[in-house]
């Protein structure tokens, strides 16, 4: 690929994010209220109908779930408040531009491509969630003798995926703003639907008063029995999962995009609204619905369990919850992948990505193993957030320069690229070593983060030392490229 093509590719990517290039100015900062609402709205989605039941099927006990989620979500809130928010408030930039400064434009191209594919898969999972609700009336068409409903054949799932996926793709092509506004408006209603479905379902499990709850929780809901084909979750898995399922947003710095508008870093604590409504109340509620479905011999898919809990309102909630997130996710996937598709218009990229989403949605495993999918997403994107943190917090303190790729005018920072590839390969190797145990990757997050941090720091130190040595040998060259090998600055980016 020629230099001309390279610059065109980078220019196009930059143009996509041009609007966010400058740090947020003082007059655009927001107060507490909007962050409470934003976090509460963003963490209640269709996938909550899947994750709650997963804890039931992974054989968790009531203590594992109720205490584990309490601790795991607390750790997630701390991560937003002490890791992501202070960096966002300090730089006032998006994760994209911060990454570009430290890793160079080519690293952001690679990041965008990977992120686009991950978002495409996640949009497929959201679509599948919606499909389980839309499939409900069709299941009556496939009923057998003495049975009201029957399982749909695979071709029928494909038909539903194409129908529903096409609508979602059209919405994404037309622009997701309207959908995003509708998403915000439906969030409080969705929380209520989760709660009422669970409360109204408890009597079906033999819980008729608050005093019965603990007994029923242990004997009927989180019984500790593992469903066939699923690995066993302990309280450590629950804590780890609750903490890491949004790892790309907090440790991975994805929410710099939101928190850069915060007046104070303490607004990172507003994430507790999303965590304890979406990832506690909703997960516990959907676990209760799942247990009731198992008790009655009903499929544990989101659609059937929501219908069992709240009738048509529940089924509608699953559709809304899936669409709300699928459409913006697809839009963002299209945006991220647009860079890799020369001269393609936005609508064409989004349509192709929509086709990918439909293909993924046809796979039942996509929601059966959603926990593994979410973990993989976290593991792939985590190192990049670690680099941002280290670049801003640690490097200036140990006498190294921050944002070195920008200062040196590099197309790519080899320490960042090397550490990203190595840290990801480390996790893959550990996963293979554990015989592809599907519940093991949860425990890889922290080791991978440490590997990424250590390796990046060492490689950056080596890079800047070598550049310093080169500058000492040829000072003329240094003068011609200011910033690359000048006196080591201890200033961070402010």
């Amino acid at each position: 690929m020629g230099t001309g093509q390279k610059s065109t590719l980078v220019e196009r990517l930059d143009a996509l994010y041009e609007y966010d290039r400058e740090p947020v100015t003082e007059d655009k900062l927001h107060g507490w209220k909007i962050f409470w609402a934003t976090f509460a709205g963003e963490h209640i989605a269709g996938t909550e109908f899947v994750i709650g039941p997963l804890f039931v099927m992974h054989g968790c006990t009531a203590v594992d779930v109720l205490l584990g989620l309490l601790i795991g979500n607390f750790l997630a809130v701390l991560s937003w408040a002490f890791i992501c928010a202070p960096i966002a408030v300090k730089t006032r930039l998006t994760q994209y531009w911060q990454l570009r400064k430290l890793g160079g434009p080519w690293l952001t191209v690679a990041y965008s491509a990977v992120y686009g594919v991950i978002l495409c898969v996640l949009a497929g999972a959201m679509l599948r969630v919606s499909m389980t609700s839309i499939a409900l009336p069709f299941q009556k068409l496939f009923s057998g003798p003495g049975v009201e409903t029957g399982p749909l054949p695979q071709w029928m799932w494909v038909v539903i995926a194409v129908m529903v996926g096409s609508v979602i793709a059209c919405l994404a092509v037309l622009g997701f703003k309207g959908m995003a506004i509708f998403s915000k408006m439906s969030a409080p209603w969705m929380v209520v639907v989760f709660v009422i479905a669970a409360v109204a379902t408890l009597p079906m499990l033999g819980c008729h008063s608050l005093g019965d709850f603990w007994r029923v929780a242990n004997e009927k809901i989180w019984t500790g029995k593992v469903t066939e084909g699923m690995g066993r979750f302990t309280i450590w898995h629950v804590i780890g999962f609750a903490w890491l399922c949004n790892m790309p947003q907090h440790f991975g710095m994805g929410d710099m995009t939101i928190l850069r508008f915060a007046r104070k870093w303490q607004m990172g604590f507003c994430s507790c609204a999303g965590m304890y409504l979406g990832h506690y109340v909703a997960w516990v509620a959907s676990g209760i619905l799942c247990a009731a479905a198992i008790d009655r011999g009903i499929a544990t898919d989101p659609g059937p369990i929501a219908y069992l809990g709240a009738g048509l309102t529940g089924a509608l909630c699953v559709v809304v919850a899936g669409w709300n997130v699928a459409s913006p996710t697809l839009y963002r996937a299209g945006l991220a992948l647009q860079v890799a598709t020369p001269n393609w218009s936005r609508w064409r990229v989004t349509t192709v990505v929509g086709a990918g989403m439909i293909v993924f949605a046809c796979m039942p495993a996509i929601i059966k193993h959603l926990d593994l999918l979410v973990t993989t997403n976290a593991l792939v994107l985590l190192p990049l957030g670690a680099f941002i943190l280290i670049d801003i917090r640690l490097l200036p303190k140990i006498g190294l320069q921050s944002n070195y790729a920008e200062k040196a005018g590099s197309l790519i920072s080899w320490p960042a690229a090397g550490a990203w590839i190595f840290a990801t390969c480390f996790s893959i190797a550990a996963f293979v070593y554990k015989d592809y145990d599907p519940v093991f990757p949860i425990f890889l997050v922290l080791p991978e983060w440490i590997v990424a941090v250590v390796l990046y720091t060492v490689l950056v130190a080596a890079q800047q030392k070598m550049a310093g040595a080169r500058a000492t040998l040829s000072p003329v060259a240094t003068e011609s490229r200011p910033g690359q090998a000048g006196p080591v600055s201890t200033e961070g980016r402010d």
């Binding site: 909007i34 962050f35 915000k184 408006m185 009422i196 939101i258 009738g311 309102t313």
Partner: protein
């Protein structure tokens, strides 16, 4: 006007919650609860677009 719309919105959600609590207490049939939930849903979505502000992403 805005406060009336807000009252309708949150009243609708409260209605849904009350119906579920009544089912839990054994004082309402599930069929009635399903209908009340649908009415609450309609009340929420009919009133909320007129008062809820746009979010962070949309306002920027």
């Amino acid at each position: 006007m805005k406060s009336v719309l807000k009252t309708i919105s949150f009243g609708s959600l409260a209605l849904m919650l009350a119906a579920a609590v009544l089912v839990f207490a054994g004082r309402m049939e599930r069929t009635s609860y399903f209908i009340v939930s649908l009415i609450g849903t309609a009340g929420w979505f009919a009133s909320v677009p007129f008062w809820m502000k746009r979010g962070l992403h949309q306002s920027e």
